[in-house]
Amino acid sequence: MKFGVIRFPGSCDEVDALLACKRFAEGELLWHGDRDLRGADAIVIPGGFSYGDYLRAGAIARFSPVMEAVREFALDGGPVLGICNGFQVLCEAGLLPGALLPNTSLRFVCRQVELVVENPNTPFTRACDEGDRLSVPVKHTTGRYYATEQALDELESDGHVLLRYAEGQNPNGSARDIAGVANSQKNVFGLMPHPEHAVDPLTGSADGGKLFESLVAHVEALAPA
């Protein structure tokens, strides 16, 4: 099982993401100008400031050659995980519903938060149980999840909200404490917190590893025996 981690100009968490992937499977960095996903079984779009986040966070990255390949991969059912800027890119690309707005505080937030697993029946959360609490850091300025009320109702009723900030810990003003959402097929998932920074107890928590572990289990369950 191999992860492909995309590197845009301005990405800054791709190396941590790759190291996190390599704890659970193989991994390779993919360049933004390259259309070839090199046989990756799952794609990670990492955090950072792709293309300087000019115009709006994630707005330019969605037009990169690699994103054309990611779009095809996703439409074909391939699992795609977007972290922080990766979440913003997926929303801008229309692969995920909603948008990320500046934090209500207008401040950069950097802190450990607790996330509650809302839906464990997806490729990204299958190593968790419903109600599990994961301790994972956030670090962003533009992380306030927004969708129309009607869209939020649909997301909630169809189990698209995979992770929520624990009560009282919403760091950015996100609607309904949403920390991460999936598309309707549940094969594309974006979240603002950084699971790749929480894979070693040395840094305070290894809970983020659950997402990578889930993806590996998902891909291996699909592979022919």
Binding site: L55, R56, A59, E92, G98, A99, L101, P102, N103, T104, S105, L106, Y146, A147, T148, G173
Partner: protein
């Protein structure tokens, strides 16, 4: 021709920048100012204005969260 696109947060979307500016104004003696919204302006030189709204829909604005207004300033 030269055009300007004004982009602002959609009505109903919380605009903390606008709120901050609104709270700062009375401190300088500007009383009674409400509904401050902070957006951005994109200035463009284009061969013709007909495709600007398409540009807005696809790139310059995010129609889910932003409204845009196109002004032709010089023909």
């Amino acid at each position: 021709m030269k055009a300007r696109v004004l982009i602002r947060p959609k009505e109903g979307i919380l605009d903390p920048q606008g709120q901050t500016v609104e709270r700062a104004l009375p401190a300088l003696g500007f009383e009674g100012v409400t509904d401050v919204r902070v957006g951005r302006m994109v200035e463009l030189e284009v061969p013709d204005a007909s495709r600007i709204s398409e540009m807005c829909e696809k790139l310059l604005a995010n129609p889910l969260i932003e409204d845009y207004e196109i002004l032709v300033v010089e023909r």
